[in-house]
């Protein structure tokens, strides 16, 4: 791991039992991610994108090799230590916004902070700041059912960002959005990455997302097929 590496994937192989045999989802992957990177994993279904995202998110462990996230070897963490790593350093954005329907926007964003035992005043300040980042400070009292798709995903980003994580993992975050909302969402994330030095790693098929990425990693059959630094097609508006 270099001094700048926030995630280091070394010879990672992941195999799943299937029927009587095994399916190799990842085969000897080597990758480094640096602080503030805005990069994406692309590839067809079954190429290993989500499996790799799972391992980097400490939701799964490699069968072989090492995945070191924030200096911690994922394979050596207990369930509780994995949860703590996710809680303190990782944010997740899902394809579906997955907001908790009985709580308001404010409470959905606040949830991660409750787990970190911030005081009520600090939580309020951080949540409102996070909602301001995504431009939703005026709908903090709304329930998720009253939000549009774009608003729902922006709340999900605020929820991922509220605890100021070093890494955000986003699995197809624009898959359910129209083009305008998709651009808004990605621009928001790009801006936050730039301002807060947060590392964003996407799994995506979306050309619009790819247009904002600084680095694209193509996966095929569980292997890195191509890895390239790119000039972002779209800039922050």
């Amino acid at each position: 791991m270099t001094t700048e590496s926030i995630i280091s994937i070394k010879d990672v192989t992941k195999r799943f039992p299937v029927g009587g045999g095994e399916f190799t989802a990842l085969h000897k992957i080597n990758l480094e991610f640096e602080t503030g990177e805005f990069s994406g994993l692309i590839g067809p279904s079954g190429s290993g994108k989500t499996t790799l995202l799972n391992i980097m998110g400490s939701l799964d462990t490699p069968t072989e090799g090492q995945a070191i996230v924030m200096g911690k070897d994922i394979s050596k963490l207990t369930h509780k230590q994995s949860a703590l790593l996710r809680n303190m350093h990782l944010g997740f954005v899902f394809q579906v916004y997955n907001l908790l329907p009985v709580y308001t926007v404010f409470e959905n964003v606040e949830f991660s902070l409750l787990l970190q035992n911030w005081s009520a005043a600090e939580r309020k300040k951080m949540v409102m700041e996070s909602l301001e980042w995504v431009g939703l400070q005026d709908i903090a009292d709304k329930k998720p059912a009253k939000l549009s798709g774009g608003e729902g995903q922006r709340v999900a980003i605020a929820r991922a960002m509220v605890k100021r994580p070093e890494i955000v993992l986003a699995d197809e975050p624009t898959a359910n959005l129209d083009a305008a909302n998709a651009h808004t969402i990605i621009q928001t994330m790009k801006r936050l990455s730039h301002e807060l030095k947060t590392t964003f790693i996407f799994s995506t098929h979306d050309e619009k997302v790819m247009g904002y990425l600084d680095r694209i990693i193509s996966l095929e059959d569980g292997k890195v097929k191509k890895e390239q630094q790119v000039e972002a097609k779209f800039s922050l508006s």
Binding site: D60, A83, V96, Y103
Partner: protein, 424 residues
């Protein structure tokens, strides 16, 4: 976090309303059935105590062996001395002399003939002294159908059905024929002062009730009784106390070989009432056990369904960094909150229903007309302190237990599939 959980419970009615309704119904039914069972069984035991067994009863050893035959030839002698000693040893117990006797009653027709005759089951209580408490204890005044209580020697109350059968009117004279405790024939005329109906078939068949002083003269039982009944203050039976007093009393006569020596019996040692007492405890325990089991199964199912409905929520919480143990614990906290709310509501409903049944009861008089058991005609529930927790605690535990079982799924969940699951 607690505020967050409570808001989640209140905001998600499927998570709170259904389990609370189930617990409320279960807890209230448990309390109501337990209270009613205790009330009914307690009434039966109380009835037996007042009419027959006392809370404790002293008889001679020989009398006790054959008491169903009312063997007054084996009666307890020297009663005044025994009572003096008892008053000194157990000042909070009230003692009542009782004599049971059998015989024939003849109703003269006024023409030196007989209108009719019938076997009589005689009962003698202290009616004249005014301090025995027997009238209140046996509810005699309120059970009189016609006429009044005997107020002077050689007056008698007779069973109302018996009076109807023999066409006896108030003021008629009847003749009792029987044997004294020494085995001699005895005859005595009594004036019928009233007729009585206790509502207990066993008591009402051929009953003749006279004052204990008349019985002593009639049966030659001076300073003697068939049975000496002891009642605790407040009229409430205390099984432990009764057994302790009986054991202590009998210990004093343990070395006395006289077959007429007094022997004390606690209520549970008579007429198989111990079985009834155990029966009450057994069924109360059974109700609680069935309740906990049934509620746990229902709430387990409810918890499983809730868990499936909240699958996505738990997934998000795991992804956001909440540990499995923490999610599991919050489920238990929720269960405690819901269980507590449902148990409080159920206890209030159950106690209200029990109170209603205690005041108004259920009239089963028509069904018990031919009964030979000492069963009251109105079955009432009984409010007891244990009803406060007999449903409450299981209600709380059932919910917690149900959630504990259904929450095990959280530990079996693979975090590796969260991304896929949360895409749905």
């Amino acid at each position: 976090m607690i505020r967050f959980l409570i808001k989640g419970i209140l905001g998600d009615k499927n998570r709170s309303v259904l389990p609370i309704i189930i617990i409320t119904i279960g807890v209230s039914l448990t309390i109501l059935l337990s209270g009613y069972l205790r009330g009914v069984m307690g009434d039966m035991i109380d009835q037996s105590a007042r009419f027959d067994t006392g809370h404790v009863k002293i008889m001679s050893r020989s009398y006790a062996e054959d008491q169903v035959q009312m063997p007054n030839d084996l009666a307890l002698l020297g009663v005044e001395a025994i009572k003096e000693q008892l008053a000194s040893d157990y000042p909070d117990v009230q003692w009542a002399d009782r004599i049971k006797f059998g015989g024939l009653i003849d109703v003269p027709d006024g023409k030196e003939g007989s209108k009719g005759q019938g076997p009589a089951a005689g009962l003698a209580f202290d009616l004249f002294s005014g301090v025995s408490g027997e009238d209140e204890r046996l509810n005699i005044s309120h059970s009189i159908v016609k006429g009044k209580l005997p107020s002077q020697p050689r007056e008698a109350l007779i069973g109302n059905d018996f009076a109807d059968k023999l066409n006896i009117q108030m003021g008629d004279e009847i003749t009792y024929m029987g044997t004294t405790m020494n085995g001699s024939m005895t005859f005595e005329n009594f004036v019928v002062s009233g007729t009585i109906k206790f509502g207990i078939a066993a008591m009402d068949k051929g009953a003749i009730i006279i004052d204990i002083s008349d019985a002593r003269v009639l049966l030659d039982m001076h300073d003697a009784v068939g049975e000496l009944l002891g009642f605790f203050e407040g009229g409430v039976y205390d099984d432990d106390k009764a057994l302790a007093i009986a054991a202590e009393f009998n210990q004093k006569y343990a070395h006395d070989k006289d077959e007429y020596a007094p022997q004390m019996f606690a209520l549970r040692e008579q007429n198989s009432l111990g079985g009834y007492l155990d029966y009450v405890d057994y069924f109360a325990g059974l109700f609680v056990g069935i309740f906990v089991f049934a509620m746990s199964v229902v709430l387990w199912n409810t918890g499983l369904l809730g868990g499936l409905r909240r699958y996505q929520e738990f997934g998000i919480r795991l992804a956001l960094g909440e540990s499995r143990g923490h999610i599991y614990r919050t489920l238990i906290y929720e269960a405690i909150f819901i269980g507590f709310t449902g148990s409080v509501a159920g206890t209030i409903v159950g106690l209200s229903g029990t109170y209603y049944l205690q005041v108004y009861g259920i009239d089963v008089g028509d069904m018990m007309q031919e009964s030979t058991m000492m069963v009251p005609s109105i079955m009432r529930a009984k409010m007891t302190p244990d009803l406060l927790y007999i449903g409450f605690v299981p209600g709380l535990f059932a919910m917690v237990f149900g959630n504990m079982l259904s929450g095990i799924g959280i530990y079996k969940r693979s975090t590796a599939s969260l991304f896929k699951e949360l895409e749905v």
